[in-house]
Each structure stands twice: as C-alpha cells, then as structure tokens.
C-alpha cells in the first residue's frame, strides 16, 4: 500500500462502534415489537366522520362564543384559567422553599435530606388530576380547588430545581462575611438571597408557563378553568365551540410562553 493521505488517516482514526450501534438498534426494535403488540390502527366506525367534523369545527369557530364578555364566554374562562395558574404557582413556590432547604444536602444532615427527597419523589409523581380529585373533597368543585391543585402539583418540580440552586451556593461569600463580623440576618440578606433570587424567579416563571397547560385540563375533574366547558362541548359534539376554546387556549399559552422566555432570558443575563 502506498502512503495514506492525511484525509484517509483521519478517516481510519474514527472510532468503530458498529457492534455498539447494532446492539442499541436491536434492543430498541425488540422493545418496539413488544409495545406494538397491543395496538391496532382500526378506526372507530364513525371515526372518519367525526374526524372531518372536528376539522370543519376547528376551522369555523363559534365567534360570538369566542369574543363574548359574559361569565360563560371564552375570554372569562381564559382569565379564570390564568388566575388559577398564577395563584397556584405562587402557593407552590412558597411551599416549595422550606422543602427545598430541607432536602439540600449542604444545609441539613444527610438522613433528613434523603427522607425529604423520597417524599418529594412521591409528591412529584402523583398526577395532577389525582390531587384535583382529592382536593375537591376539601373545597368542593370550582376554581378554588384548581388553585390548590396547581399549588400542590408545582411543589415537587419547584423544590427539585430550587435544590440545584441551593447546592450550587457559593459558600466563600458567607465565609468572608463571617470573618467581617456580619450577623446571621445580614448573611442571609446580602450573601444568600442575591445568589438565589434570580434563579428561583426564573424557575417560578418556567413553572407558571407549565401550569397554564396544567390548569387548562383541570376542568376535567371539576376543578375550574377552561377544561370543563371544553370537555362538555366535546362530549356534546359541538365542534365549533371546541374550536373557539382551543383557539383561545393556544393563543394564550403561546403568548405566556413568549413572555416567560423573554423574562427568563432577562433574569439569567442579569
């Protein structure tokens, strides 16, 4: 063989991972075969009719319902959903703070943080609809139950993300403040809060964004918001009303997402 060119040398240096890739592909295909066993593409007898009805309905929304200003109009329902998400996020954000400190391994002893963590995993995994159904027993059906549900559902994720911020705290600042003779209050106010506040806020805004979606489905279990009218309209095959609700909802969620991305970019860049 003649001498290899530089390009060919580089080419031969590339790691050969054929076997590895094949193993992954085989495992994945096996899993796919296992999971496809229960599926079938059979359509409902009236499936195609309903599908075309849905699309005509979505394209011809009920405009008077969409823009009506009464308590049954889409705008008011969206306001209610927004309020549920907002108040719920605030409640969750407050409740998550003590739990986050209790599960930060650099603040409390290991057993305490471990126990709190296990509890948080449970809190996080219980689906929001289950909380909704449980809290309706406390408050009765209505948006109030939705607020509490969003609050409880948010705790898990908020606490987990708070903990990441707390464990990354720069403790050198605190040491130098101690050596300057700062009091405990001053250490928290000027040493810890400035480090945490921006991150906490950013996490909160992100969760608010998610809670908008969460709040829009809580109506399914009777916990207020736009979900209930949506479900009723769907069960009654009133597709043009479904269309106007979905248009309003999608517009609001996209708007909130855009605002939240802007705010968070601003917070992170200082």
């Amino acid at each position: 063989m003649s001498t290899l060119t530089a390009v060919e040398k580089q080419f031969n240096l590339a790691p050969k991972r054929r076997g590895y890739v094949w193993m992954i592909v085989l495992t994945l295909s096996g899993l796919m075969l296992w999971s496809v066993s229960e599926l079938s593409l059979a359509l409902d007898q009236r499936g195609m009719v309903i599908a075309s009805n849905i699309f005509t309905g979505l394209l011809n929304p009920d405009l008077s319902f969409l823009f009506s200003l009464t308590n049954q109009g889409v705008l008011y329902l969206l306001l209610e959903t927004l309020s549920i998400a907002f108040l719920g996020t605030i409640i969750g954000a407050i409740l998550a703070v003590p739990l986050a400190f209790l599960s930060a391994s650099n603040i409390v002893p290991k057993p305490v943080s471990g126990l709190t963590r296990v509890m948080l995993i449970f809190v996080r995994t219980i689906p929001s609809l289950v909380y909704g159904l449980m809290l309706i027993r406390v408050t009765g059906p209505g948006p109030f139950a939705g607020v509490l549900t969003i609050g409880v559902t948010s705790i898990g994720m908020l606490a987990k993300l708070y903990v990441d911020a707390i464990e990354d705290l720069d403790t050198k600042v605190l040491e130098s403040m101690t050596s300057m003779g700062c009091s405990m209050f001053e250490k928290i106010r000027f040493g810890i809060l400035p480090q945490l506040l921006a991150l906490f806020l950013s996490v909160m805004i992100y969760r608010f964004d998610m809670n908008m979606r969460e709040a829009s489905i809580l109506g399914l279990v009777g916990a207020g918001g736009i979900g209930a009218p949506l479900i009723f309209a769907m069960q009654g095959y009133r597709w043009s009303q479904v269309g106007s609700i979905l248009i309003g909802l999608v517009f609001l969620i996209l708007l909130i997402e855009a605002i939240s991305n802007k705010l968070r970019a601003k917070l992170v860049n200082g």
């Binding site: 994945l28 899993l31 796919m32 296992w34 999971s35 496809v36 066993s37 229960e38 599926l39 079938s40 593409l41 059979a42 359509l43 409902d44 499936g47 195609m48 309903i50 599908a51 849905i54 209610e80 927004l82 309020s83 549920i84 907002f86 108040l87 605030i90 995993i121 449970f122 995994t125 219980i126 689906p127 929001s128 609809l129 289950v130 159904l133 449980m134 809290l135 027993r137 406390v138 408050t139 209505g142 948006p143 109030f144 939705g146 607020v147 509490l148 979606r213 829009s216 489905i217 399914l220 279990v221 207020g224 949506l230 479900i231 769907m234 909802l249 999608v250 969620i253 996209l254 997402e257």
Partner: protein, 271 residues
C-alpha cells in the same frame, strides 16, 4: 425603560467621590404582583377560612393511601405495562419523525421561507394543545383506547423534540456544512456528515428526557378513556378506595423512578 424615569440614587462617599446606585424596581413589581394576586383570588373564589377548616379531609385521604392494598398489584400490572408500551411506542415513533421535521423547520438549511414558517407553526400548534385534549379527540377516531393514547403521546413527542431540535440545528456551527456543499455534496449527505454528528447527543438525550415525561403523562391519559393506568386511578377514586389508589401510586412511583434513573444515567453519558 424604568431607568430613565427613576433617576439613579447618588451616594457621596467619605472621600468626596460620588457613586450611583440603580434604584430598585422591587416596589413596582411587588405592587403589580400583589394586585394580580388579589384579583386572581377574587376570580377563583379563594377562601382561606374554608381551607383551614377542611384541609383535614385531604390528610385523611393521604393517611388511607399510606396503608396500601397490597393484594391489588395483580390488577395493576397489565395496565401499568400497557401504559409503558403506549409511552415507549409513541416516544420512539415521535422522536424518529421529529428529526426530519426539525430539518425542514431550520432556516439555515432550508432556504424556502414559507416552508420553514409552516413547519414551525404546525409544531408549535401541536405542542400547545394539552395532551389530554389530543388524547380525547383521538379516542373519538380510533377504536382501541391504547391506540388513542399512543397517538396523543406520539404527537406531543414529535412537536416537543422537533422544537428543541430545530433550535439545536439553527445554533450549529455551519462552517463544515458549507464546506461540504462547496465541494459538491448533496444537501442530505452534507447534513448527515456535518450537522448530524453535532446534534446527535443532544437529540438522543432530548428523546430520552421526553420518554421520561411521557410515562408520567401516559398515567393520566386513561382518565379520558385513552388506555393505561389512568382508568384504574379514575375507578379507585370513584369508589373512594384510597387504599388501592395508594398501591397504584406506589407502583407508579417505582416505575417512574426506575425509568428516570436509567435514562438519567444514559443522558449523563451522552453529554
């Protein structure tokens, strides 16, 4: 904007120099927040008295859930497996479709502006629809509940992974792609050799992450009749059988925890 209206505070130091401190916007933000909270409380009928009086009910249910009905495991198992199958199939298929869609939504590769805009709009519309609503619509169209659930998860995964991927592709280093196009490679092979390796770890890790999330979502899809463990959750709550509900939650937590730690292990390896 506020900086112009609120002049910065001037502080004269002991050595005669003066420094300026930006005035805090905190009072304004706080006022707005408190007003918003007040109106939200009015709209939602927030009632702290009722909460304090009746919150005990919530903990009664929790206490019952903490004494799970161990005999119920055999009933949970098939539904749990069907939940897993739904989320696995939907995620893999969705992630596979997301990649080509993401390419068509990247403005640095596709030069036709209308195509990029259309694909992007479709992706964000599908992503914004709550999964539960998609699932409910799908139950009207498909006969099997599991298929409806899988379709809902598939659509959500496609839009979610698709969005993150076109963002990744648009931020990729374009030099090598241009060089390959310049030496006469087709767009497809230039993409495969220049851009694909750059986004591959990100793509796999995003797909795994979305699979994790989908297992959680799949758990509630049964509530609208789209198959999986949600059906049992709905039933047990309807019968107020909180001991069995506790067992379902325990099984769900274990499954989600196992999947999360496995996927986290692989994701850490990828990055």
């Amino acid at each position: 904007m506020w900086a112009k209206r609120l002049a910065p505070k001037k502080i004269v130091l002991s050595n005669g120099k003066s420094v300026t401190e930006k005035r805090s916007k905190l009072p304004i933000i706080l006022t707005v927040l408190i007003l918003a909270m007040y109106y939200a409380a009015v709209v939602t009928g927030f009632d702290i008295e009722q909460l304090i009086k009746r919150i005990g009910e919530f903990f009664t249910i929790i206490r019952q859930m903490l004494q799970p009905n161990w005999g119920y495991i055999s009933g949970i198992w098939p539904e749990l497996m069907s939940t897993l199958k739904m989320s696995l199939f939907g995620s893999v298929l969705g992630a596979a479709l997301a990649l080509p869609l993401a390419v068509f939504a990247s403005q640095n590769i596709i030069k036709q502006k209308w195509l990029v805009a259309t694909v992007k709009t479709c992706l964000s519309l599908v992503r914004t629809m709550p999964t539960l609503v998609t699932a409910l619509i799908a139950t009207y169209i498909f006969q099997l509940p599991q298929t409806a659930g899988t379709v809902a998860i598939f659509l959500f995964t496609t839009s979610y992974v698709g969005k993150l991927m076109y963002e990744a592709i648009e931020n990729v280093e374009m030099g090598s792609f241009e060089a390959m196009e310049a030496i006469g490679m087709s767009k497809l092979s230039a993409f495969r050799t220049a851009i694909f390796p750059q986004i591959l770890p990100n793509y796999l890790s995003t797909s795994l992450y979305s699979f994790e999330g989908n297992v959680r979502y799949a758990a509630i899809l049964g509530y609208v009749g789209a198959g999986g463990i949600g059906r049992l959750i709905n039933e047990t709550i309807g019968w107020r059988d909180y001991h069995s509900l506790g067992m379902i939650i325990i099984m769900l937590v274990i499954t989600v925890y196992l999947i999360e730690s496995t996927s986290e292990y692989f994701r850490k390896k990828l990055v």
